[in-house]
Symmetry: C2
Subunit: 204 residues, 2 copies
């Protein structure tokens, strides 16, 4: 097979290295860019390169950031007494999307996984403890928002133990239960059981 | 909602302008690039920009090209007596992918569509006639490989009329019939009818 142009062949090849983008989709995207205004491609290429080369990590919460401190940590309108602990930046963005949280974050950079050789020292756990224990720390609540998988639960358990002796800091965990719109009969029994034990009083 | 970084927000925004890429997919792609080596992003951004700004159109077949003449037209191992007429570059690549064709191409740039205001003069039809009629032309067969839609059929009919008086040039059309693996009972009746009329003798 001949590609009529090496330039498009290269572009298709590079696009197809992205996860979930096959050769056909890559070709469709490349042809779309060729038909569209040159500005579209220029700003896409520039945004990707700028992101990759200029992004850094927040010194406080370890989230991705444009500066030493991320825009969430730097935002004085957010509640710096509440720290939500998550495994990944993806989780920060998911929680931000809900619009329900006004505190700040702490990104661990993963979960404890003996199988994958990830131990507590490979994660930003010490810095979380230091952050909460520091003289004059504003932190009053640490919310563990870690996926309830086996590894996530191990991580949450480890964190609870590391954090339990801190004075004036409450530890909480995101609620587990039947998802909105979920049907009781399809819920697994552990989730259903917990949703009964952790039942909430109806506000009348 | 706050994005922890404007740089990733911009990159996600640009990626999400691509057709078929939603915000969630765009975020997944951006985070993938952030985790991967910087080289990956650098070569993706460069390949896209180079493609968009350096690609041109072949003066002979009007396909996308890196030079005045595309790599298919420039390839002397290809059969320049056969010209396959297609609507779009996409079709060139689809036919090249089959590995069954060794001739050259002519890209119309679309099909005749009165509804969308596309007439014969908006397409590379005159240049096809000139190419086939030119003194010393090598063209001996023109294969119409245009999708059998109403507009495609109109275009093919128009082309047949424009080309029919050329001496020494045969006009042919890609075979239509039941697709490989297709079930007779699900084929539409026009396709099935044509597949009987255009039946091929079994080679024993
Ligand atoms: Zn931060
Ligand atoms: Zn060409």
């Amino acid at each position: 097979m001949d590609f009529p142009s090496k330039l498009i062949e290269n572009a298709v090849g590079e696009l197809a290295r992205l996860p979930g983008i096959g050769k056909k989709t890559a070709l469709r995207l490349a042809l779309h860019l060729l038909k569209a205004d040159t500005d579209i491609t220029a700003s896409l290429a520039e945004a990707l390169a700028k992101m990759r080369f200029e992004i850094t990590y927040c010194r406080t919460c370890h989230s991705i950031s444009d500066a030493e401190e991320c825009s969430i940590c730097a935002n004085q309108l957010r509640d710096h007494a509440q720290v939500c602990v998550v495994a990944d930046v993806r989780d920060v963005i998911a929680i931000e999307n809900t619009g329900q949280y006004r505190g700040v974050y702490h990104v661990l950079g993963g979960v404890i996984s003996p199988i994958e050789g990830v131990g507590p020292t490979d994660l930003h756990i010490d810095s979380l403890v230091e952050r909460a224990a520091a003289e004059g720390s504003e932190v009053r609540e640490i919310i563990l928002a870690i996926s309830p998988t086996m590894e996530g639960d191990t991580t949450a358990f480890y964190l609870s133990r590391r954090l339990r002796d801190l004075p004036n800091v409450h530890i909480s965990t995101i609620a587990r239960g039947i998802p909105m719109g979920g049907e009781l009969e399809y819920a697994d029994e552990i989730t259903l059981g917990r949703s009964i034990v952790d039942r909430q009083r109806q506000v009348s």
